[in-house]
């Protein structure tokens, strides 16, 4: 992995905001807003996998769509391969689209049922005018199918003739067609059975190694995210609450929400489970229409302090190693660490 720190990141997202206006009635009268993404910042380095985790509705998919500029932004900056893409017009985005592709969660609805596999995989080549002659077009499709472990003789079949895992391979082949540098995977294995999940995870990791791909990997299953990611960002209600290297995050989670999330996952080991303390948190994720004041997690936080409902903590970097067992890279948004970060409570 080429994680040279001072190198320009492949993708830089700064204070990204996506707010949806809620309207009512025929006149579309605005009645409020959902701050689906509310000040998200992170970066992806060349060749790494950055995992984005969080519970349903916290804004993971919206973040992904915004990065691809498939979702209007309310604010913030997105830099991809060194260019500010925040203000680009659709025709200016077109050549960049080739460099950033998406793999979706649902292998059943994301493929057009009336198209043959060959045409599904080849469509991006046609759209971008890269299919020069028939023979090389076919050869490229065969090559892509082979890369994802599908037999090229299957190319005349339709999606319904494939299993969930195979359809996910088709989606991956299609994403690879334009030789992107970044692939955003939104819950790529969530709909698959355990034994098939493992096949697709292995494939994604092999392809990354062979092609030097960078992944933004979205999932709610922490063990899957741990397996594939180099660094992980944890989201809660539109904000990132913690970013850390995989091992640091799992060995010593800093944010109370991250801690709760980790202790909520049962481990596949009955002997360990019998002794593991469970710190369950109370309540459910509040509606993003009416997020709590201050730190969004404060109504559920076991360590809540008076400052928490008043001031929203920002995502501070662990400079000069003030968080034990964490590198300088780690970031956490929680007032518990105000002193370590040298800021006032």
């Amino acid at each position: 992995m080429s994680l040279v720190k001072n190198e320009e990141p492949l993708l830089k997202v700064d204070d990204l905001k996506v707010h949806f206006t809620l309207t009512k009635g025929f006149m579309q009268k605005p009645v409020g807003s959902v701050k689906a993404v509310d000040g998200v910042s992170f970066e992806l380095r060349h060749g790494e996998t950055f995992g984005l985790v969080g519970e349903s509705g916290c804004g993971k998919s919206t973040t992904a769509l915004a990065v691809l500029r498939m979702q209007p932004l309310t604010g913030g900056l997105i830099k991809f391969e060194g260019n500010d893409i925040t203000q680009l017009e659709p025709h200016q985005m077109r050549p960049l689209r080739r460099r950033m592709q998406m793999v979706y969660q649902d292998p059943f609805s994301s493929l057009n049922p009336r198209m043959r596999i060959r045409d599904i995989i080849g469509e991006p080549l046609l759209v971008h005018g890269l299919a020069t002659d028939r023979r090389s077009f076919r050869a490229r499709i065969d090559e892509l199918m082979d890369m994802v472990g599908l037999l090229p003789d299957m190319s005349d079949r339709y999606p319904h003739e494939f299993s969930g895992g195979q359809r996910q391979r088709i989606g991956i082949a299609r994403a690879l067609a334009l030789e992107p540098s970044l692939i955003i995977c939104d819950e790529p294995v969530s709909a698959l059975d355990v034994s098939i999940q493992a096949q697709v995870l292995n494939l994604l990791m092999d392809l990354q190694r062979e092609l030097g791909l960078t992944y933004l990997f979205i999932a709610h299953d922490l063990s899957v995210v741990r397996h594939i990611s180099d660094r992980i960002g944890v989201m809660y209600l539109g904000r990132i609450v913690e970013i850390a290297g995989r091992d640091e995050l799992f060995a010593s989670p800093k944010h109370p929400y991250t801690q709760a999330l980790l202790s909520s996952i049962p481990l596949p080991d009955p002997a360990l489970e019998a002794t593991r303390p469970q710190q369950l948190i109370v309540g459910e994720v509040p509606s993003p229409k009416t997020p709590p004041s201050g730190c969004h997690f404060h109504p559920r936080c076991p360590k809540v302090m008076s400052v928490c409902s008043v001031h929203s903590p920002n995502l501070a970097r662990n400079q000069a190693g003030s968080l034990p067992n964490h590198s300088d890279e780690s970031q956490v948004a929680c007032h518990l660490y105000d002193a370590s970060f040298g800021r006032e409570g």
Partner: protein, 326 residues
């Protein structure tokens, strides 16, 4: 059948009439459950977990047929009861919790009515008494201000709260068995943990037996006493939970255990996978259903079906495999 046996399923086979002909969904399945025990049924989608659960309560629907077998619960074969008799058992002695609470709650009835109804029906209480018990139950499953929420409708509740209501309804008549089919799959991780902990605590307190259907091997490890692993409509391995994780025998179980990325251990290493795909039940191979994916398959595996035999003379650990050199 020993005296502390609550449920005994013997040689159950279930089919569905489909436009592709008759499809066998569950074959020759036997299992038994003691009073107060938690049994987890695991397996890939389509392996027959839900059909097994639905057969116990005879909820298979019009095209489902029980071809063979007995389901003996508290000494009575549920499969030979009249429709009225089985209806009296449902919701009373045996309760069921489904994956999607929204589809099993009635959207046009208040929460209070729905929780109180089985109490009226099975426990001979009037509505006032039943509402009082409903408040107690809802409080028990941690619905805040339960009394004020009796007149709410299901859509006023979040997913987690609806699943709590389902648990309250399941507990209403103090059943001896609760069948929970993927009860938390649709919920967030932190809420999932709350719901399962609650279900576990309440069944333990009241010594209610639980059949927990799940595909999450972590959930199994945390809550199950015993485990049955299903593949292609059959139980391929069953054992006490600790024994199964420590000493899995069937090649499918071994593969399943190896293919889950844990949150401990070596991240980023290649996962061991089971090649190929789950079988098509309409077109099962003639021998062991796992033979097409099994790296140990030999000639016998392709012609006859292995019986669920004890492992090393341990009657509580059984595996359906002709064996292979380790």
């Amino acid at each position: 059948m020993s005296s502390d046996t609550l449920l005994d399923i013997e040689h159950l086979s279930v089919s569905f009439r489909t436009d592709r002909g008759k499809v066998r969904a569950v074959s020759d399945l036997s299992l038994s459950l003691k009073r107060g025990e938690t049994l987890a049924i695991v397996g890939e989608s389509g392996s027959g977990k839900s059909v097994t659960a639905l057969s116990i309560l005879r909820l298979l629907g019009d095209n489902g047929v029980i071809d063979h077998g007995r389901v003996v619960f508290e000494g009575r074969n549920l499969l030979s009861l009249s429709t009225d008799e089985i209806r009296r058992i449902r919701g009373d002695r045996i309760a069921m919790i489904f994956q999607e609470p929204m589809s099993s709650l009635n959207p046009v009835l208040t929460i209070g009515k729905q929780v109180a109804e089985p109490i009226c029906l099975h426990r001979d209480k009037n509505w006032d008494e039943a509402f009082e018990i409903a408040v107690e139950l809802l409080t028990k499953v941690a619905i805040p201000d339960a009394k004020e929420r009796l007149d709410d409708y299901p859509h006023h509740f979040s997913g987690g709260m609806r699943q709590r209501v389902m648990i309250a309804m399941a507990l209403a008549c103090e059943p001896r068995l609760i069948i929970a089919d993927e009860p938390t799959t649709a919920l967030d991780v932190t809420v999932q943990a709350q719901i399962l902990a609650l279900l576990n605590e309440l069944t333990e307190q009241s010594q209610t037996a639980l059949i927990l259907i799940t595909h999450d091997l972590g959930v199994v490890a945390r809550y199950a006493d015993r485990v049955a692993v299903m593949y292609g409509g059959r139980i391929v391995e069953t054992a006490d939970a600790k024994e199964l994780y420590a000493n899995p025998q069937h090649p499918y179980t071994v593969g399943l255990m190896a293919s889950i990325p844990g949150i401990e251990g070596d991240a980023g290493a290649r996962l061991i996978t089971i090649d190929g795909q789950p079988p098509d039940l309409a077109d099962l191979p003639s021998g062991c259903a796992f033979a097409t994916r099994c790296q140990h398959a030999h000639d016998a595996c392709r012609t006859s079906i292995p019986a669920l035999d004890p492992v090393e003379q341990n009657p509580s650990h059984r595996s359906a495999c002709f064996g292979y050199p380790l």
